[in-house]
């Protein structure tokens, strides 16, 4: 189903509950009655075209957001990506950590299993924090800078100097390491971790990890198909203009 402005938001959630975190990420609170997307976006001062592109991209993996999102200001996209970083770091990862801390085993294995899993997860979490911080402090500001300079058409000497030193191309990075670690964690829990006393917690952890994985894939899809290509295009034109 393609979600449009007149679609009721409640219907969207009924149809695909994976969109719940996306909706809260935009700052929308539940209890919205029968309001459609257009009405809710107006109420929360959200650009409804942008909102639709994001929910459709997440809802249908064949939906290509690049075309329309590419024509919208990148600052919307960046703002969205920032809020999903916040969601990963402040909500999802602490939740999984809490669940991991709950696990326990019989006998002397308990201490070893806990310490091992804890260490792995902490390491992964730190990598995510490092990665998102790099994007927030380096990549996104540079992209916004490019967009602002392109729009203002000012020949800002400071920025011309910056452009001599870096380019979007330097930021075309891979997220492979992060997704490999998550995949490893899934296999460790599914295949190799000895049965814990609280198997209900194991179930919750797995569901949360699969969820996080899907969410991160979608996040990367927006970066790789919208943010970076559009910013590269603008950068190219800007370089031509500034010459």
């Amino acid at each position: 189903m393609t979600i449009v402005k007149k679609t009721k938001l409640a219907e969207v959630i009924h149809q695909n509950y994976h969109l719940i975190p996306i909706i809260t990420r935009f700052g929308i609170s539940f209890g919205f009655g029968d309001k459609n997307i257009e009405q809710i976006c107006k109420q929360y001062e959200i650009n409804s075209d942008f909102f639709l592109e994001i929910v459709n991209a997440f809802n249908d993996k064949d939906y290509s957001p690049a075309k329309k999102l590419g024509t919208m200001p990148l600052k919307n996209t960046v703002k969205y990506l920032l809020s999903s970083h916040k969601y990963f770091n402040d909500i999802k990862l602490p939740l999984i950590e809490k669940l991991i801390h709950k696990l326990n085993w019989e006998g002397p294995e308990n201490k070893k299993n806990k310490a091992t899993l804890d260490k792995f997860f902490n390491q992964y979490r730190n990598e995510v924090i490092e990665h998102t911080a790099h994007e927030e402090n380096e990549v996104y500001p540079f992209i916004l800078n490019i967009e602002n300079n392109f729009k203002s058409k000012n020949k800002d000497n400071g920025f011309i100097e910056i452009l001599k030193l870096k380019s979007i191309k330097d930021y075309e990075e891979t997220h492979n390491e992060l997704s490999s670690a998550l995949l490893d964690l899934k296999n460790i829990i599914i295949k190799y971790l000895p049965p814990a006393n609280n198997s209900d917690v194991i179930e919750q952890i797995l569901v949360e990890i699969f969820d996080l994985e899907k969410d991160m894939e979608d996040h990367t899809k927006i970066e790789d198909t919208v943010l970076i290509p559009v910013a590269s295009k603008i950068e190219k034109e800007l370089r031509k203009y500034l010459k």
Partner: protein, 197 residues
């Protein structure tokens, strides 16, 4: 283990989606890309050298007989033709397999399974997850944070052998990162938690 990749060249969304769905049911296979025209298909096949290409007969116009010549010489992709009507069956001999719009799910699945088996015989991928003693030794070294060079020196084997062992370990366990391998090694008492990095 790396999945066998398919490229599907097909205009019809319904057919494309159906084929993708059946292929994705095989855990050792996945659809790499979907295309809708011949030009892009040639480019993608030359770039990725996928194990399989499923192409609609309508996309290849008059090139059935020399379809292989459309691709770079290095390409060893198996070619599967998709036919949408009964009349189009005559070009079958130039392809490795034929899938027809009239095939039912079981028929298509069987054809794909046979193609997969040819590329990857079943006994090869049904290996047990058990590590050999040598692999355990290598894993132990990995978990200690050693580099390939250090491992080669410690175990008196070549770098090349170390790399092969590591590949096999990752393939068997389906764990890629050093941190993940370390967790496996600790859980299975291959290394003591205090020795690990």
């Amino acid at each position: 283990m790396k999945k066998l990749s398919f490229i599907i060249a097909e205009k019809s969304y319904i057919v494309k989606t159906g084929l993708t769905k059946i292929i994705n049911n095989f855990h050792e296979a996945s659809v790499l890309r979907e295309t809708t025209d011949l030009q892009t298909t040639i480019k993608l096949v030359n770039k990725h050298n996928p194990e399989f290409l499923i192409i609609n007969i309508k996309l290849i116009n008059d090139a059935h007989e020399d379809i292989r010549q459309l691709f770079s010489k290095k390409i060893n992709t198996k070619l599967i033709i998709f036919v949408g009507t009964k009349r189009e069956n005559e070009y079958f001999e130039y392809f490795d397999e034929k899938i027809s719009i009239d095939d039912d799910k079981a028929e298509i699945s069987k054809k794909i399974q046979l193609l997969i088996n040819k590329k990857r015989p079943p006994n090869e991928n049904s290996e047990s997850g058990e590590l050999s003693e040598r692999e355990k030794e290598v894993l132990r070294q990995v978990a200690m944070g050693k580099t390939n060079k250090e491992i080669a020196e410690a175990l008196f084997i070549s770098m090349h052998t170390v790399i092969t062992h590591r590949k096999n370990i990752t393939g068997k366990l389906e764990i890629k990162t050093v941190a993940g391998l370390t967790v496996y090694a600790i859980l299975n008492n291959i290394i003591d938690i205090d020795e690990a990095v």
